[in-house]
Symmetry: C2
């Protein structure tokens, strides 16, 4: 096979470790100079490919590429943009091929979640559908941990660690205050459809901390919830609640959508946490505090899981290795071999089985009452938060790298997306 350049892009919500995957791709490609030329990164994901806005990663220093391993966010910019089907938007696919041709790109590495796997799968079919030979490999990434086949997704372990650590610390705090002040602490975490992130709060069960988890998988029952919280306060003096942003009523209405209006009649300001906190206050009268972690949780590279960082890198590396072996339309995966001691190997999944499939918490991961995690879930989650992988600090702050992101000279006319 003739030597070809590679395209790499980051897609969807970024994570604390997606740049570690980027480092895995770029550093491994450099070890296969016989087959892979330059690695061009898309500026802002697939949009960079469509607009021919390519970044020449070879212009970065070796040290800066290595520093991606400890830098959160998407160093090349990400995007929320899903390619339509070939039938619906042939123009975009033809443009991709034009850009690939112009820059001699034969490898397409796409680093994202479920939607991105769909885009990557569509690109992988371009040889067959439009006659342009390109190998498309998907590198899994999503804090939501909702991709199928792979045992876990890079990004998730670090969020899980952040949520477990933060919930532990805040629970210690509220416990200290409970005698005369705050008795209820609510933390809202990400997860619109799947409760994997919220489940991480359940890891504190061995720390004798009363935690109530509100999963998107369990329709919300206000009366039962209030009774559970009250029982905890009566027994422990306080209660911590981890609420998933996707927690909803049996009719599908999110807790966060309370029809809240401000003085001007503008709709809904808040998240699920203040709704839950006020609900407890109204029913039981307990003083509360609440937090919404939002981007802080998925960007928290300072407390990333070492296991997660390692896997993120390895999956980037594996994607390149699959490419040089001639594979197309696949995604490297984590295959778990054992829980204790934790052992895994890198496997491979067909992209057609990954695209647009969401993996929810299995029913046997959630306790019968719906508010906690089972031993089985704990065994699953525990290895994923193992180990710390601290960034270097300078002057009190982490040394996160900002790349030069030098543009590749354009060869084509502009393209309007």
């Amino acid at each position: 096979m003739a030597k070809k350049n590679a395209f790499y892009a980051q897609s969807g919500g970024v994570t604390a470790v997606i740049n570690a995957s980027a480092a895995g791709v770029i550093e491994t490609a450099a070890k296969h100079k016989d087959k892979i030329g330059k690695v061009y990164a898309g500026r802002n994901g697939i949009i960079g490919a469509l607009t021919e806005d390519l970044i020449d990663t070879s212009k970065e220093s070796i040290a800066d590429i290595a520093a991606l391993r400890t830098t959160p966010s998407g160093a090349f910019g990400s995007c929320r943009y899903k390619l339509k089907s070939l039938e619906a938007n042939k123009r975009e696919y033809e443009r991709l091929i034009a850009v690939f041709k112009a820059h001699n790109i034969g490898y397409f590495f796409y680093n994202g979640g479920g939607d991105s796997a769909d885009t990557c799968y569509k690109v992988s079919q371009l040889s067959a559908t439009l006659g342009y030979p390109v190998q498309a490999i998907h590198v899994p990434k999503t804090v939501d941990n909702d991709l199928p086949i792979t045992d876990c997704c890079p990004g998730f372990g670090s969020v899980a660690k952040y949520v477990a650590v933060s919930t532990l610390e805040a629970s210690f705090d509220v416990k200290s205050m409970a005698k005369t002040s705050t008795k209820i602490f609510v933390i809202e975490v990400m997860g619109r459809h799947a409760g994997w992130i919220a489940a991480a709060g359940g890891l504190l069960v061995d720390h004798n901390i009363p935690i109530v988890i509100l999963f998107p998988e369990v329709p919300f029952d206000q009366q039962k919830f209030i009774a559970k919280v009250d029982a905890n306060v009566k027994k422990f003096g306080y209660c911590t609640i981890v609420v998933s942003e996707g927690c909803h009523y049996p009719d599908g209405k999110f807790l966060a959508e309370q029809g809240t209006r401000d003085a001007f009649g503008h709709a809904q300001l808040g998240g699920a946490a203040p709704v839950v906190a006020n609900m407890v206050k109204d029913a039981l009268g307990y003083k509360f505090h609440w937090a919404v972690a939002d981007y802080l949780q998925r960007a928290a590279r300072h407390i990333a899981s070492k296991t997660d960082v390692k896997q993120a890198y390895e999956l980037g590396k594996a994607a390149v290795q699959l490419a040089v072996k001639g594979r197309n339309a696949v995604m490297p995966t984590v295959e778990r071999l054992s829980d204790v001691p934790y052992k895994y190997r890198i496997g491979v999944a067909d992209l057609k089985d990954v695209a647009n499939v969401e993996k929810f918490m299995p029913a046997n991961f959630i306790t019968k009452d719906g508010y906690g995690i089972t031993e089985k879930c704990k065994r699953y989650l525990t290895p994923l938060i193992q180990g710390e992988d601290y960034p270097k600090y300078e002057n009190g702050l982490p040394q996160y790298v900002t790349l030069k992101n030098v543009a590749v000279a354009k060869k084509l006319p502009a393209f309007k997306i």
Copy 2:
């Protein structure tokens, strides 16, 4: 002087390092066995003294007391309870004396903020007012950094580090997303009256990150604020906003009080962050995300400032050293000697000058436009976030200690507070 026991209690909102001060008090007292007998901790602060609910810290292992140095929250429980004046509530002072007498307590170490300094000062006057000899020493603690005389307060440096690190990470995140998605990120931080914590967001100025800070010291001007945010988005593509919970309009009304009502007409659910985020969305149409850090910020021992932990310990130690020197009605302080290199020594302040005085951000710490920090402020803040002081981890989570908290046998009749 005859050997006396000591009383130690934690008061007000707890911090990531107040237990380091506790370790400083207990370990230093153990080195002065000629003068100090046991250290009894108040269970839930001063309430423990009033109800004779004392904890015998000598029942804890040396390792567990040492582990307080890396454990957030208040290990003995804190409280929000301010003693009234002697005239208004003589009964409580007489009870304190009864408890002190019954347990041979001659030293009173109170670890808290401004209100607590007031309580401590009142106790320090008991020899003069009610004829009971007790030496009362205040150990400063407050994330708000609003105590006078001392250059800084233990607890603040760690919150400042948390805010700076989290804001840096979230800014990297939003920068990655800004092309097609989120352009505005708002983080709400503590500080009802003083903007010290919000100011920590300004430490990112050298990282080329567009930050707008909303201080409680600067009355909110919506038009000017919106223009500032828009200018940042136009220049950088995105904007990060750090809003203090105490940010308010010129008439004193907090941003958080927007007259928000839910579907049932219940008042105000939200914080300042969603209000600010929606305000930007309404005016400029930019997609936003927002976070409310709440207890997460003050409990975040996992990212505590090494400088802060060290000072917290040293001030606990200094309090005991002042006591054995016969001092009363004082508080050890941090006296800054130079910014670069950072040098300080432990000084001492009279409690009468500390109680009920709040220290706000000096005007020359805030930029002229009201949205950033000056070089002078940066020079002040930078040393306080220096260094990391990681707790040990086990199974992916920090090893925070929970003490046995063995009660001292009661000798007195019950007391109703």
